[in-house]
């Protein structure tokens, strides 16, 4: 009786260990599959022009070199595109955040007539992706003489349905009593907005900021449509033209791809928590 019990216990333990090992093996396998393309990118970027086309393939570069990186950074438009991408991403993130917070503030804390209607209309805009409106957007921007202007991208951030939606969710959880108290003390609405509401929405703002920065940094369609002057190109746009220009010099494009990933990777590693939150609220984006 006792014997049978202990043997079934060890059996259970064994099965549990086998289960754990199975998960590790599976996890490792998926990790390898995910990493092969990145590994390929890194080693290619460290190869010379001849080595990328050598058969058999060099899985570890025989003569690693930084030539590709040197060549990239010697191109003024490449360095410029990194600057352009940072400029657009940072400013657009700021504009998107501020405007969304302002709209959400009005939609949650100021009881005006037709508030629900305004919100309803804003939410339907969630269904209109830029893949549908980029043609007329190009036409409007051309008419306003705003193509080839990096600052014009900020105008497109005045209204972002997803950001407004998310800020509204957050601000609804802030107790109105804070505002009533401040109104009695004679504070203006702007003061309430900047001194009470914004600080209390910090976590939502952080999540939104990271999502917005990633959006802008990685965007391809709108820069492709709105920018034609090479000196104004953002990094993804320049990378895509490099691959056409230097057709078989994959060490160059891979080095460029790696450089474009690094900033976002750094943000990701230091702000993982916010990425995760962004995912859960991203769920409502549908």
């Amino acid at each position: 009786m006792t014997n049978a019990k202990t043997s079934s216990l060890t059996g259970l333990k064994q099965r549990r260990i086998i289960g754990k090992v199975a998960f590790y093996v599976l996890g490792l396998l998926v990790a390898i599959i995910v990493c092969i393309p990145f590994y390929w990118m890194i080693i290619t970027s460290l190869k010379g022009r001849g080595a990328i086309m050598s058969i058999p393939v060099e899985w570890i570069p025989k003569e690693p070199t930084l030539d590709a990186y040197k060549k990239l950074f010697a191109m003024p438009e490449f360095v410029g595109s990194i600057f352009n991408s940072f400029y657009v991403s940072v400013l657009c993130t700021a504009v998107r955040l501020l405007c969304a917070a302002m709209a959400a503030f009005a939609l949650t804390k100021i009881p005006f007539k037709g508030r629900n209607a305004v919100f309803g209309i804003y939410v339907t805009a969630l269904m209109i992706p830029s893949q549908i409106t980029f043609i007329p957007l190009f036409i409007i921007m051309t008419n306003m003489h705003l193509t080839n202007s990096l600052n014009a991208f900020m105008l497109l951030q005045l209204f972002n349905a997803f950001a407004i939606f998310m800020m509204r969710q957050k601000m609804m959880t802030i107790n109105d009593a804070y505002i009533e108290a401040a109104v009695i003390d004679g504070a203006s609405m702007w003061r309430i907005f900047f001194k009470i509401i914004l600080p209390m929405s910090g976590s939502a703002m952080a999540t939104l900021a990271i999502l917005a920065f990633m959006d802008m940094w990685n965007d391809y369609l709108l820069p492709l449509v709105l920018l034609s002057d090479r000196s104004k190109f953002t990094l993804p746009l320049l990378l895509s033209t490099l691959s056409g220009q230097y057709k078989n010099q994959y060490n160059l494009t891979m080095a460029g791809a790696l450089i474009s990933i690094i900033p976002i990777l750094i943000v990701y590693i230091f702000a993982q928590k916010y990425f995760k939150e962004g995912l859960t609220v991203g769920g409502v984006k549908g």
Binding site: A31, V57, K113, T133, P136, M214, A257, I261, Y268, F275
Partner: protein, 306 residues
């Protein structure tokens, strides 16, 4: 009473002004403009006088619903739809399986799973331009990683992006790689919402792991699964960057032509803005339809019991 109403609009307006302006100028006006442009043969090069001389513009370029007719009766459109469906049929099952595996691994509570989570998410945060460039090179028939790995097992890999048969599957592979971390994490949060007691009860009744998965996990995961399915379906109709980078000319024999790629090329390569605008409306109609189907079916299929 009336005064206080006015007063609250007055207080609200400054806060709403930026978003309202952006909404009108960059969402509403473009949509309306797109209707008119879609009814014309405007080429995008000659001056657009839609605002200054509306009737003059329409007189000059008006063609009625000719653009829509032309698209819907063209062979190309059905090839585009066929390509998209090919993508959907290959991508969705593969992606669901891959992200389910990711979710199960991440939910397994083994030590060091945090590192896996970080790794699996790196493709998600990578831009599609970088991701597509990497895959284009990984899939190079002679010098790429995939075919050289296949060769180790004695398999001769296809010529991927240069083959009309394999170009779309290649796009699918890259897309599954890019998206499985995102959907995997989504499914994982769905898994975490399932009450552990169900599993305990099932274990006492002697149900094995596989039975627990098919009888408890899958049914209770349907809301999340359904959600992932719809998002990925809608995304499938908006493919663009990976197509443009991996197969800039629409693939061999047009095998990777898709909606947004057509819209872009009609407008900016062939200078047929009217056709491009009409194409956009057709895409919008498809997306609207998908969203409506989602809302309808949600109640039917989805198990919300906790």
């Amino acid at each position: 009473m009336k005064n206080s109403r006015l007063a609250s609009w007055k207080t609200a307006l400054p806060f709403l002004l930026p978003s309202l302006a952006g909404f009108v100028v960059f969402s509403i006006i473009p949509m309306i403009m797109q209707i008119f442009v879609s009814l014309t043969s405007w080429d995008g090069l000659s001056e657009l006088t839609l605002f200054s001389d509306f009737s003059g513009f329409m007189d000059r370029f008006y063609v009625g619903i000719e653009n829509y007719k032309e698209i819907l009766t063209s062979k190309e459109f059905y090839q585009v739809i066929g390509n998209t469906l090919e993508f959907v049929i290959l991508y969705i099952p593969l992606m669901l399986i891959a992200s389910m595996i990711v979710a199960l691994i991440l939910n397994s509570h083994v030590k060091g799973v945090g590192i896996f989570r970080v790794l699996y998410y790196i493709p998600v945060i990578t831009s599609w331009v970088a991701g597509a460039l990497i895959w284009k090179w990984v899939l190079s028939p002679e010098y790429g990683a995939i075919n050289n790995i296949l060769a180790l097992f004695g398999i001769e890999g296809p010529s991927w992006l240069q083959s009309s048969k394999w170009a779309m599957p290649a796009i699918v592979l890259a897309s599954v790689w890019k998206d499985m971390g995102y959907f995997g994490l989504m499914l994982m949060s769905g898994l975490q919402g399932i009450n552990q007691e169900y599993y305990d009860a099932a274990a006492i009744d002697g149900a094995g792991k596989i039975k627990q998965f098919t009888r408890i996990t899958l049914p209770l995961l349907t809301p999340t699964l359904f959600f992932v399915l719809i998002i990925s379906l809608i995304n499938s109709f908006q493919l663009f960057t990976q197509i443009m980078i991996m197969t800039p000319d629409g693939g061999p024999l047009g095998s990777t032509m898709v909606m947004v790629e057509r819209i872009y090329k009609c407008g900016f390569r062939y200078y047929e803005m009217g056709t491009a605008a009409a194409y956009s409306w057709i895409l919008f109609a498809i997306l609207l339809l998908l969203t409506m189907v989602q809302m309808k079916l949600q109640n039917k299929w989805v198990n919300y019991d906790d």
